[in-house]
């Protein structure tokens, strides 16, 4: 049993305090915006110059002046604002974004993250990832699967790929578990139903600690 990407996004959204300012990375983190609980309002920042990002534009009704960091046509909600790139990254660098939510190739027990470059012939492209992980108050990583396609752990003792930032990740959400990264290492705060601690440890490249009241995660369709 494991969580779907939508299940993970739903859980991430439910963990965000109302009133938070949140930046969602391109890809899987964007799913979070579709699952904001009805009981709270939080504000999405897109680093190309907007607060109050709303849902994707309807097909055929795109306004290509209103795009997100992935260059997709989106919308703006009431209470939003526009600003230029230097102001936008001053917000990020200055610690005003409460949570930056990103994908990653590797996350290490010391909080390091590698999510921008797999060495190869293509030109290295970083975008705003390094600014976000260095600047946001909290960095949460979403992993659609706890291990890579070839079965290698993505949560590791030390990253092997080129780093995006050092000591900056606070929490990892995967299809199997939720892991907080603290000074002393990794603490599993929630784990998928039916999974043994030993099995999760096998699929993780660094020593896991388990919170005393480790929560049991269920896929949404299975949940009460």
């Amino acid at each position: 049993m494991k969580l779907s990407s939508v299940d993970i996004a739903r859980r991430v959204a439910s963990d965000i305090t109302g009133g938070s300012y949140v930046n969602l990375g391109i890809g899987m983190p964007m799913l979070v915006s579709d699952h904001i609980p009805d009981d709270r309002e939080f504000i999405l920042h897109t680093e190309n110059g907007m607060l109050g990002m709303g849902p994707a534009a309807l097909e055929g009704a795109e306004d290509w002046d209103i795009v997100n960091a992935g260059k997709q046509a989106v919308s703006i909600l009431d209470g939003g604002s526009y600003f230029h790139h230097a102001d936008s990254f001053a917000m990020i660098r200055g610690g005003h974004i409460d949570i930056s939510i990103l994908g990653a190739y590797e996350v290490a027990a010391n909080g390091d993250i590698a999510n921008w470059l797999i060495p190869g012939p293509r030109p290295p492209a970083v975008g705003g990832a390094m600014d976000l992980v260095a600047g946001a108050k909290q960095v949460w990583v979403m992993l659609s699967s706890h291990v890579s396609k070839s079965g290698e752990p993505k949560v590791v003792e030390r990253c092997t790929l080129p780093l995006t930032g050092v000591g900056c990740v606070n929490r990892v959400y995967s299809d199997l578990a939720i892991i907080d990264i603290v000074d002393n290492g990794l603490i599993v705060t929630a784990m998928i139903e039916g999974l043994e601690r030993e099995e999760l440890q096998t699929k993780t490249g660094a020593t896991l600690n388990f919170a005393p009241n480790c929560e049991v995660l269920k896929p949404f369709s299975e949940a009460a």
Binding site: T46, E47, N48, G49, M50, D63, W64, D65, I66, V67, K71, I76, Y82, F83, H84, H85, A86, S88, F89, A90, I92, R93, D112, L117, P121, R122, P123, P124, A125, V126, G127, G128, A129, M130, D131, A134, G135, P162, L163, T164, G165, V166
Partner: protein, 224 residues
């Protein structure tokens, strides 16, 4: 009477000593949003060589920056995300070693340009500390955190896309088409602007780029 409006592209590009071989050129825009496409085409028509182009991306498709690169005018790109689903022209030249690339985190890029416009030769940022993009750069500790020293970017020419402009050169932008444009407008010896619509006067409270940063403007209509 101050009047920065021009009536033709030839008038726009004439007698401008900053449009020269080896020039550094700032190109506003993010993806296809807020790009001064017609000015880029006019720049390409000049057939200059060895330009250093500063832009968030390295061009996609077969228009605008991609064509400028294909024309052989560009010796070096400074960007944050020189890669997209259709950035073939740049990537082929890059793979062939025919164009240089400096990859810069997006927020550091914006801030380096802002610094160039603001008379700040260098500043410190935590972004990229501990990553390959800090290689060779000065590292310094302030209040127990590590920072990277980054130098300002100043340019000979900026090509800017704006929504409205008045005879004094005051500009507004529309939505996220603002992006890098206001920052880049401040950091070049000559700032050339394509404006969707000339207006009699931008109200003082609504001016985003004061005319002091603008040299010449041309009206191009809606660009989509």
């Amino acid at each position: 009477m101050i009047d920065k409006r021009t009536q033709s592209m030839s008038e726009m590009m004439a007698d401008c000593p900053d449009l020269k071989d080896g020039a550094t050129v700032l190109l506003g825009g993010f993806g296809d949003t807020g790009v001064a496409v017609k000015l880029i085409d006019a720049l390409r028509a000049l057939g200059l060589s060895d330009l250093t182009v500063v832009s968030n991306g390295a061009g996609g498709g077969e228009y605008g920056l991609a064509l400028l690169i294909q024309s052989g005018s560009v010796g070096k790109m400074i960007c944050s995300f020189p890669r997209s689903s259709d950035s073939k022209i740049f990537e082929e030249l890059y793979a062939a070693g025919k164009i240089d690339l400096e990859t810069v985190p997006q927020g550091t890029l914006a801030e380096r340009i802002r610094a160039g416009g603001a008379g700040i030769p260098a500043f410190y940022t935590a972004t990229a500390y501990g990553t390959p993009l800090a290689d060779g750069k000065e590292i310094r500790e302030f209040d127990a955190r590590h920072y990277v020293m980054e130098r300002a970017i100043r340019a000979d020419i900026a090509l800017i896309h704006a929504a409205t402009g008045d005879r004094w050169g005051n500009l507004t932008y529309r939505a996220t088409a603002r992006n890098f444009n206001p920052v880049m407008a401040t950091a070049a010896s000559t700032t050339l602007v394509e404006v969707r619509k000339f207006v009699d006067m931008v109200p003082a409270e609504e001016v985003i780029t004061p005319g002091i940063f603008v040299d010449r403007m041309i009206e191009v209509g809606d660009y989509t």
